[in-house]
Amino acid sequence: MYPLVSQSLSLGYDGKLIINNLDLNIPEARITVFVGSNGCGKSTLLKSFARLLKPQQGSVLLDGEAIQKQSTRQVAKKLAILPQGPAAPEGLTVYQLVQQGRYPHQGWLQQWSEEDERVVNRALKSTDMHELMHRTVDSLSGGQRQRAWIAMTLAQDTNILLLDEPTTYLDLTHQIEILDLLYDLNERENKTIVMVLHDLNLACRYAHHIVAVNNRTVYTQGLPERVITEKTVKDVFHLDCHITQDPLFGTPMCIPHGKGRHVREKAKRTDKNSQDTYEAAVA
């Protein structure tokens, strides 16, 4: 079962074609990560999955039904999206921000219900924002702020969560904190998560399904350890690299070639036993 499907989807604007005739299935209750070079259209693709962008041709199916035929509010009840680098209005508190997530569930005059309150509290709790709920969003650190925004999308109470570069502008500690949170949400609540990530190594670690976007279409997709190869990185990112195993997780790890200081003597580009040689050299 695929909750999000694109059928011969073409996207673009100003006469420029960005995604051409793409068929893509997003697996349910899995973490899917889009990777690709800057401007390859991965964010555009994510936006079209959230109905923020009208396709030029083809369609996106949400729960088997064309997303363009569903109302914005219907879509917002099934799918939440966190755009890149969202900015909260000055003075807004975390609690107020998370309350906004209930918007699609309320009518024009409908009052705040107990159900709303319960879902908001649960969202605050699962993002660990409970103690910060009365702080203003602009007073938080980058990682906390991103957690507050994720709490807002959780308050939408949807099965599908789309995130456009949720770790951008965050330091490494906070990147891991956010990705761990999303991983937990997938494990605990079986949420279908689709996100755009820049860091290929982190993408390989957290994704069940990785989608490499290049040249207006999907270059390859699948389990990261199967599809992330030196050739993939070369073709998608135009980068020469060496793929090894993450020493902690065993997931693919990409080590780019290029310039820099060589500490190890006689380093060879395709040395298979680089780790051993390095240790030997240091010893």
């Binding site: 923020l52 914005t72 755009p83 997530g101 918007y103 024009w108």
Partner: protein
């Protein structure tokens, strides 16, 4: 608890408004006692001069100040939400310039001189300018964006201002008739002239209050709002229509009164917070109070003459504007750092 605290604040604002209203009725060149003022409404006596002053000039003047003040303040708050720019005000939508052009055009070409017609002509001019800004701002792929709206507003304002200046160069007699609109005033409007506009302003104010919750969503950003299921295009059109309606009618009955639409939303935000459900009613009351107070001060500053109220609000508003711009600059810097 927070909710009741805010209710108290709104109550205080209401009390301030009531005080300003009473002061506006009794204070002036002829001071009138509160008791006499009360009697003017309960047991009107056409032989008492004070009663006549109240019913013919003071009351209409106070009502004009209340409606114009709240209309401008709420229009300003909506503009700031619509453009996501804290320095925005209805003036940048070209509304004042459009109204002014309408008046000069009708005065020079068609020799219209009646105040009553002016009101409607100003309103039409404001509507046309607002509509042009909207159509111009909506061209292009991403529809109405704040930046395009502001640019279109600046362009249309420049267009109408130069039309107006051109007409005035050709026909200098027209200058007198527009001085009133240039400086702005709440005096000299009889109840008969303003009453047709009042229900319209009331309607627009109520409509804006109903939008409060939806505006809260919109100011979090276009994509966020759409992701939450808001029909943002419709929202923006609705808000734009209300701004044109409110600012247009304010300009039509009181001329070009600067700064109320700019500073009152900030005062209201400082008092009531960013939640538009509370901020908008606060805005309406503060705007009315400010304009009443400015009008009272205008009567006393160079007695027996009066300072035009537009000058008065500018005197009050300019220092505040500079303060705001400076603060906006520093907080803007902070934000840049936060987002790397």
């Amino acid at each position: 608890m927070l909710r009741s605290f805010r209710s108290y604040q709104l109550l205080i604002a209401l009390l301030m408004l009531a005080t300003a209203f009473s002061a506006s009725i009794v204070l002036g060149q002829t001071s009138i006692s509160l008791k006499t003022a009360y009697q003017a409404f309960t047991q009107y006596d056409p032989t008492v001069i004070d009663h006549i002053i109240i019913t013919t000039t003071r009351l209409s003047r106070a009502l004009t100040a209340i409606f114009v003040g709240s209309a401008l303040a709420v229009a300003g708050a909506l503009m700031q939400a619509l453009t996501r720019n804290p320095l925005a005000s209805p003036g940048i939508l070209g509304i004042n310039a459009g109204a002014l052009f309408g008046i000069v055009l009708s005065a020079t070409l068609f020799s219209v001189a009646s105040l009553q017609y002016y009101v409607w002509i100003a309103f039409t001019g404001a509507g046309i300018a607002g509509g042009m800004v909207y159509c111009l701002g909506a061209i292009g792929r991403d529809g109405l964006t704040p930046v395009k709206l502001v640019l279109a507003g600046a362009a249309i304002t420049a267009l109408f201002v130069s039309f107006t200046q051109g007409l005035l160069v050709v026909n200098q007699e027209g200058l007198d008739s527009i001085l009133f609109w240039l400086a702005g005033s709440v005096a000299g409007r009889s109840l008969e002239i303003i009453t047709p506009v009042l229900p319209f302003i009331t309607l627009m104010l109520v409509a804006s209050l109903l939008l409060g919750r939806h505006i809260n969503i919109l100011i979090s950003g276009e994509d966020v709002a759409r992701g939450l299921g808001q029909r943002t295009v419709m929202m923006k059109w609705l808000m734009g229509l209300i701004v044109v309606g409110l600012a247009g009618s304010a300009v039509a009955i009181a001329g070009n009164i600067a700064f109320v639409g700019l500073i009152v939303p900030h005062m209201a935000r400082a008092m009531f917070g960013t939640d538009y459900r509370w901020m908008l009613p606060g805005c309406a009351m503060l705007g009315a109070t400010l304009l009443l107070a400015a009008d009272i001060m205008a009567r006393f500053l160079i007695m027996p003459q009066e300072v035009p109220i537009g000058v008065m609000t500018a005197l009050l508003g300019t220092p505040f504007f500079i303060f705001l711009a400076r603060r906006g600059m520093t907080s803007g810097k902070k934000r840049e750092v936060q987002y790397g």
